[in-house]
């Protein structure tokens, strides 16, 4: 059995398919003569262009950015590059060698540039080189778009572009070598509802292609060489999951209410306007976190007001009056956007990020706030400010929005007059001054992912200290309780948009603390509604009282797990 991180619940039973990018080897000496090599090269270019044009088309259709692939076609059409390749072939080189040499030259020139954007282009040339070599050598790329039934995909890391191509119907499990519960791989597998185990060391080498596997995405375990009794056991569990899913399905279209009648708001988190459909399909009652970084990433320059407005408007209008909380740019920390030219920092998580960056770059911030304000005319939009640590910050953001409103009034631009402005509670400072912030915020939303890291002073990506990173640690629980209570005292609603809001172990505590809004991954909406319906306020209070009196994370977890087994 191989151990990893369980990142997407469920059991997958199927055959391993290894998706590996091994270095490509060939015999450098063997040229078939310049004429034959040139025609092989031209045929490969032709296939390259056709393939990439088709992929670009498909990517654009499903909401990706196909222009990167069109850029690859343009690069390979470069007259200078072509003449260099032809010159080498004339000199007796094999087409593969000529492509590798000329691409290699550009890779080293681009990599050595003193300019980040140029350095990034080296990766594009690397892609072109590898793809051309595969075409010339007749190496079949595994076509993720058409896979055999019951495939378990073994991959280094799941990238968004792989997800786009992946044949979702036939993938029953995912195993990766890298990534934690909040990585791209995890988020993607959960939204596709495919069981996934991440961070399995050396999975690509340890798992033989075509071997039978069982992926337990809840426990984070991958089984090889199992006997029939193991298979029967997991088939049973699989049935239970299917039953659970069927049960959850009964909550579609219903309000979110606890057993004793407390009505909650159940929202979804999204990272792009392209996930609108997933939110509607998931039956979420609103959007509790619309991350806007993705509009700014994977490009060469800042998106303009129009482009941002269109994205925000699509979501605002598409949600038809249901609330849409847009978080303003959360750059910095682990999210680098090269063209913003942020300095390399010793300590990025304590550095120049989120609202700190935005208030220091007001021109760009105003563009985003203008776009949000304009979009607010089309739906129930609210603004959320990330990484707040001081009262001044929320006051300054409010002042900017106030000025924009005056401008809009003068120019007769429509907007939601009573647009709400809230604080994302994710720093110890914000927690300690929650009462002061509540005076100036229309709502709170607790970002448990960063809050846990900052409170415990532990990086979950660092294996030596990640044991400290737990939302169930008494310190974090107290912070969460305090924030919710401070909001209630001031009479403003409090939500939670971190992972914890969907964690069934955490829900009784959140109900007891009085959380108003749960914002979760679209794929978790129905399961959270189902879980909340089973919870009784009084019983939750009793469990919370015990959990808060516990001295260690382990005691808290024990209390919560015995509560669950009693209640369910």
């Amino acid at each position: 059995m191989l151990k990893g991180i369980g990142a997407s619940d469920g059991i997958g039973i199927g055959k391993a398919l290894i998706f590996n990018d091994k270095p490509i080897a060939y015999d450098e000496g063997a040229s078939e003569g310049p004429k034959a090599e040139k025609s092989r090269f031209e045929a490969a270019v032709h296939t390259f262009n056709e393939k990439n044009e088709a992929r670009a088309e498909r990517l654009n259709q499903i909401g990706g950015d196909g222009e990167i692939l069109r850029g690859h076609i343009a690069m390979l059409a470069d007259p200078y590059m072509l003449s260099q390749i032809n010159e080498l072939i004339d000199g007796g080189a094999r087409a593969e060698k000529a492509v590798e040499t000329v691409c290699g030259m550009f890779i080293s020139v681009f990599s050595a540039a003193d300019d980040e954007l140029t350095r990034q282009r080296a990766a594009d040339v690397e892609d072109i080189k590898n793809e051309m070599l595969k075409l010339l050598l007749g190496i079949e790329d595994i076509d993720l778009g058409s896979l055999p039934p019951d495939t378990i995909l073994i991959v280094g890391e799941l990238t968004p572009s792989m997800t786009v191509e992946m044949d979702r119907e036939h993938v029953v499990g995912i195993v990766t070598e890298r990534g934690g519960r909040t990585s791209h791989s995890a988020i993607i597998s959960r939204s596709l509802k495919i069981p996934a185990v991440l961070s399995v060391e050396n999975a690509l080498e340890l798992i033989p292609a075509g071997s039978e596997l069982i992926v337990d995405g809840s426990a984070g375990e991958v089984y090889r060489d199992f006997d029939d009794s193991v298979r029967r056991r997991f088939t049973e569990i699989q049935k239970r999951y299917a039953k659970k899913a069927a049960l959850e399905e009964r909550y579609r279209g219903k309000p979110t209410v606890t057993r004793d009648g407390a009505v909650k708001k159940l929202y979804a988190n999204i990272g792009s306007h392209k996930e609108l459909e997933a939110v509607l399909e998931a039956d979420a009652e609103g959007i509790g976190l619309f991350r806007t970084e993705f509009l700014f990433m994977d490009r060469d320059s800042m998106p303009g007001e129009e482009e941002q407005f269109e994205a925000y408007k699509t979501v605002a209008a598409g949600m038809k009056g249901r609330e849409v909380i847009i978080r303003t740019l959360d750059v910095g920390g682990d999210k680098d956007i090269p063209y913003l030219k942020l300095k390399k920092e010793e300590n990025p998580f304590m550095g120049f990020r989120a609202v700190r960056y935005c208030l220091a770059n007001r021109g760009a911030y105003k563009i985003q706030l203008r776009a949000i304000l304009r979009a607010s005319a089309y739906g129930n939009v609210a603004v959320m400010v990330p990484l707040v640590t001081r009262v001044d910050e929320i006051l300054e953001v409010r002042a900017i929005i106030g000025k924009l409103k005056d401008e809009f009034d003068k120019q007769n631009i429509p907007y939601k007059k009573d647009i709400r402005v809230g604080v994302m509670m994710e720093t110890p400072a914000a927690c300690l001054i929650a009462d002061l912030l509540a005076e100036h915020a229309d709502f709170f939303s607790i970002g448990t992912n960063d809050l846990t890291g900052y409170i415990m002073a532990a990086d979950r990506g660092n294996a030596d200290v990640s044991y400290l990173y737990s939302v169930f640690d008494p310190a974090v629980l107290r912070a969460v309780k305090h924030i919710i209570a401070s909001a209630a005292k001031r009479g403003i609603p409090c939500g939670m948009c971190g992972e914890a809001a969907a964690d069934p172990r955490m829900l009784p505590l959140l109900v007891s603390f009085g959380l108003d809004e749960f914002s979760v991954n679209p794929a978790s909406v129905l399961s959270v509604r189902c879980a909340l319906a089973a919870l009784d306020g009084k019983a939750c209070d009793a469990a919370a009282e015990k959990a808060l009196a516990a001295g260690t994370e382990q005691e808290v977890l024990n209390i919560l797990s015995s509560f669950r087994s009693e209640a369910l």
Binding site: P79, Y80, M81, F110, Y339
Partner: protein
Amino acid sequence: MVTKTVTVINTQGFHMRPATVFAGEMGKFKSKITLKTDGKTVDGKSLMNIIAACIKCGAEVEVVCEGEDEQAALDKAVSMIESGLGEA
């Protein structure tokens, strides 16, 4: 041979998108087109060489065109750069 010196005004300079459009347009002319900037001499029809030259916002670029349609080529190159390469 005709030449003119212009300043790059779009904030990202000659990057992927603008460079692709520029090299594509220049490729339509028969003349030899050269960009001279910061001591570097670059083939104006080569996207890869333009990217490698890292021509940034504010850079002075001398456009040199030589051939049968040199004036038309120069006019097009100058107007493209002066209008921000389609993204200023």
